[in-house]
């Protein structure tokens, strides 16, 4: 007889290829169109994102949200103080950037100069500002950093740390301040070794306001540690309003200088902060490096391969579910009957009794083999069904013991 190995899959595959000879396993057309669609979707998402970003930036251009800006009506702005000063007859000149500061009318002994954001000053712009304000009555610096204080050669240095209390009492006398004035705490503390310096709002050795007296060629310099007391949101609390107005309204005129970072020239090597100037650009570079890393590690080397999984069925599953059914129904009677029947069957075959032997006959033979009294064995093998679970467990144990006794003559 010749060998025939018949394979249904091969037979079906043969007929299938006969039917469609042009069939290919993977159509490249489908992959290309999918990729085109992906590119299209990405492009649409990018364009939409761009449109949204432009729209948001245009919407925000109208508003001014620079902190302590005299034209910012928001909680962090200082429009309230500027307006009130104007109403009280103080001329408020707003100078945005170095050019506007240079264009203001001459700054004389009746002019107070406020620098609301001195962190934007570089060494050069700070020097230019210092030259411009030499003749002023008072120069108020809001939260200047160590770099600016050193650049202006002022004998004040930041002490760091915040006030432990929510408000601070002045505890000093200065033009525009009384000892009982109370302001919101929460800024930078400063210390000054200068002999003539006035320290106000002090806590733990540092002060939130330090005033250096005027000397020929330099104005009185007030270093204000907390700009909060000028802000629209805080100005109404404690004596903030009074302190602000009196501090800034000493002369007829207030030059409100808002320095601009755009004035900082490329050659100006002094960083505008205490951190290295390269830190920001390096962080940006690091961001790109992380993006490149994500692209490198995230690109999968080919698609995932799926495994056609087989049906996983445990062979004992039906038996286990039958056990669960018994348990849910608390069918101790049925479980007891089944256990008794099984024990009787096993004992019968062990003792050489025929398959159809009655429980009584098996009990007799078992009693003889184990040496137990007949009524006890009969109660075990053919007694009433167990009433509860405890009785059922006991019955199961007794049956096992009985079988062991019979097996061990």
């Amino acid at each position: 007889m010749s060998l025939t190995v018949w394979d249904r899959h091969e037979a079906e595959a043969a007929t299938a290829t006969d039917a469609s000879p042009g069939g290919t396993p993977e159509s490249p057309q489908g992959g290309r169109s999918r990729r085109r669609r992906l590119v299209l979707v990405t492009a649409v998402v990018l364009v939409l994102g761009l449109v949204v970003a432009v729209a948001v930036s245009l919407a925000r251009r109208g508003g001014n949200d620079a902190p302590l800006d005299p034209r910012n009506p928001g909680a962090n702005g200082a429009q309230a103080v500027a307006r009130v000063l104007e109403q009280r007859g103080v001329a408020v000149d707003i100078a945005r950037g170095q050019a506007e500061l240079a264009d203001t009318d001459a700054i004389d002994g009746s002019t107070t100069v406020l620098v609301s954001d001195p962190r934007a000053l570089s060494e050069e712009t700070a020097a230019a500002m210092w030259d411009r304000v030499r003749g002023a009555r008072r120069l108020v610096l809001v939260e200047p950093d160590r770099f600016l204080l050193q650049a202006l050669d002022l004998a004040v240095s930041p002490a760091g740390g915040g006030s432990p209390t929510r408000s601070l009492r002045a505890g000093c006398v200065l033009a525009g301040l009384t000892a009982s004035d109370t302001v919101t705490a929460g800024g930078t503390g400063y210390t000054s070794p200068a002999p003539g310096a006035t320290r106000c709002f002090s806590f733990e050795g540092s002060s939130e306001l330090v005033s250096l007296p005027a000397s020929p060629g330099t104005p009185e310099v007030v270093v204000l540690g907390s700009g909060d007391l000028l802000s629209n949101g805080e100005v109404t609390r404690y004596d903030n309003a009074g302190v602000s107005l009196r501090l800034l309204g000493q002369g007829d005129r207030l030059v409100w200088y808002v320095p601009s970072v755009l004035d900082v020239s490329a050659g100006d090597t002094t960083p505008a902060s205490e951190l290295p100037r390269a830190l920001g650009p390096l962080a940006l570079l690091a961001l790109f490096a992380v993006l490149a890393l994500m692209l490198w590690r995230g690109r999968r080397f080919g698609p995932l391969v799926t495994e056609p999984l087989p049906a996983v069925v445990k062979a004992v599953e039906t038996t286990q579910s039958r056990g669960r059914l018994y348990r849910r129904a608390r069918d101790t009677g049925r479980a007891g009957t089944v256990l008794r029947a099984a024990a009787t069957r096993r004992l019968a075959s062990w003792l050489g009794l025929p398959v159809g032997a009655t429980p009584e006959a098996v009990a007799q033979a078992t009693a003889a083999a184990s040496g137990r009294p007949l009524h006890e064995v009969l109660a075990l093998l053919a007694g009433p069904p167990p009433a509860d679970e405890d009785a059922m467990v006991a019955l199961a144990d007794d049956l096992s013991t009985l079988e062991k006794e019979v097996h061990r003559p």
């Binding site: 069925v313 062979a315 286990q320 348990r327 144990d397």
Partner: protein, 430 residues
Amino acid sequence: MFVTGRLVALVLCGVVPVLLRPAVTTVWLWVVVFLVATALDVALAGSTKVLHLERRPSAQVRLGETGSTTLLATNTGRRTFRGSLRDAWQPSAGAVGNRHQVVVPGGERRALRTTLTPTRRGDRQADRVTVRRLGPLRVAGRQRSYAVPGHVRALPPFHSRRHLPSRLAQLRQLDGRSAVRVRGQGTEFDSLRDYVEGDDVRSIDWRATARRRSTVVRTWQPEKDRHIVLVLDTSRTSAGRVGDTPRLDAAMDAALLLGALASRAGDRVDLIAGDRRVHRKVVGSSRTTLLSDLVAAMAPLEPALLEADWRLLTSEVTRLSRHRGLVVLLTPLEPAAIEESLLPPLGVLAQRHRVVVASVSDPALGEMRAGRGDARAVYDAAAAERSVALRQRTAAGLGRLGVEVLDADPEHLPVALADHYLLLKSRGLL
């Protein structure tokens, strides 16, 4: 498109210009630099299509052993192809070391070998081959996947083959090839030889003795050229797992041992595997190739979640042979399935052939039966006893039809089946 670790290094090299000129604009300039480098690299990398891929057919491998697949990559272009290649297989193919660094000069060809250790029986398919071609700067390149069909056939492991030598020794004893020779084993006339002391006087051939001076006895040999049909049930009941392997695999193991033994004994062995349809048939295989034919036919079989159509399977058996033979049904002793669909056609089959039902039992059932202690364990024990009682009832029903039932766990079923075959052989019942 893809990028390499070099792109990250290139981006980080931007630290130098940023430190020299610490400004945000420097970073943006550097972004332009590396974007241009990446774009150039992708543009100059060249197409991945120049690599012509071809797969050599893989040899069959027994489950648990290691084989390999070879991919031939031919560079049809003129420029050197530089890049990498991933030969993806489905996870159960156990492909290890399937990522290859490839440098193929123009017009040359390279063979890429991937080892495969299948973890599941059957045909394990290759998926796509992904090709990455690096650009001249090796910062980025192009990536593309191609379908290169291929498969490796994982054969049934045939764990029970270690029992084969001992059963073959038993077979030789029956056969008269070894020293021990017991009269009465077998009914087929073999030869005549001179009487020696100790021979059974009943085996003296008086007619031949009369023709010669000396006493002559007849010798017998076990029957040869008997027909054995193995019916492998691939229906839902064979999908049940005993331990971690399906019952089907254990049944295959038993079928293979019996097939190997019977073919050595000189019997013809055929195989039918199916459920509602016949999936595989091995008919009339020669003695030397039987085992490999059986193994190859069984390899791709998977249990289907269908009820077996025993009417169809038994009619296939009937079509195979009109002479009386041994039919081994490898199907689990599931009372419901057997009583509903197997018993009716089995009556007819059992009249024509000697039928044995070999069933894979679950050792877990025995553990459940012995469960004691709390109510939960006792309920489970009662359920297990009920299952066992039902199985015994079914086995008794089969026995009334004259069908022998072998119910053993996967470890012992092949041996039990082989021993039963040897018993039938020695009694001349085939």
